[in-house]
Symmetry: C2
Subunit: 155 residues, 2 copies
Amino acid sequence: MTDCKILHYTDSIHYELEQTARLMRILTLQLFTKLGITISLDEYCALDTISINRQICQRDLAKLILKDRANTTRILNELEKKEYITRIIDTKNNRLVKKLEITQKGIDELNSISIKIKSYIDNVTKKIAPEEVEKVQMILKHFRLDLEKVVEMNI
Amino acid sequence: MTDCKILHYTDSIHYELEQTARLMRILTLQLFTKLGITISLDEYCALDTISINRQICQRDLAKLILKDRANTTRILNELEKKEYITRIIDTKNNRLVKKLEITQKGIDELNSISIKIKSYIDNVTKKIAPEEVEKVQMILKHFRLDLEKVVEMNI
DNA sequence: ATAATATTGTTGTAAATGCAACACATTTTT
DNA sequence: AAAAATGTGTTGCATTTACAACAATATTAT
């Protein structure tokens, strides 16, 4: 009786979002292995974020990529080992921080990957009208800003 | 020069989707602990899916919740231990399968959680027009169906 | 001035996840 | 009829992840 009145979680936008994102991630991971890309998807995201936010410190990067500090450290260790970034000891508000800088080798790798995956990435949204894609992206960003206010991120 | 022509991955809908979904998941996980809900979010999703797809077998469930068989097994072990589901040995196309059935205790728990989290879940989309939420959900489903055709799921 | 708190990054550890291998039965191929 | 392939579920292991504790320094409170 009461059964039909209750909204199923699997009908909610939360679940729909998670499932779609999950599938997209799986697809991108498969693409990375298929194209023989040697850095992980998370490393690629971090590298891309660093390329846009020059001189960002580790903690701020962690906030952007939504990983905790520990895992951000590990991702950056990998990127540094591969010589795609350098860590520069500096200060921010009188505190010692490690600012991140992408190397030329990192820029080249980033561009190389972006070009490689472009057509595959575009292909996914091919069947959906561009204005709809943009609209979804806009609403998602709106969502995200609201979410950021509510979620307690202790990073 | 070529730098500005390349679309950054972090500007793509892939990344926007993943980040938004990630935040939503973090929020829901925090909600679960705050409300003292004793099953995991994944267990809850599985239970909800079983309640909608009665007599589903493990492999078909795995396809729906987008987990591999191994992890589906583990999630179901937990749910069975907590007496929220039972596994019924049966056949499907002459093959032995374990069909899943939700127990009364499972239904009660499911409803209890759904009621508990409802207001919080609604709250997230409060500031966005309902028709926009519906539109996003519709387009996401469209996305997802396209994705399912492309992604190789070896479950 | 001393103690408490906060910021930044690292390390340790337990849990979650993905992937491969296995077991077992059934279907299909040769 | 024998062999190969397929479908179903489980176990094992290596990787990823989240969370907590730590180290070092700077700020704030008492």
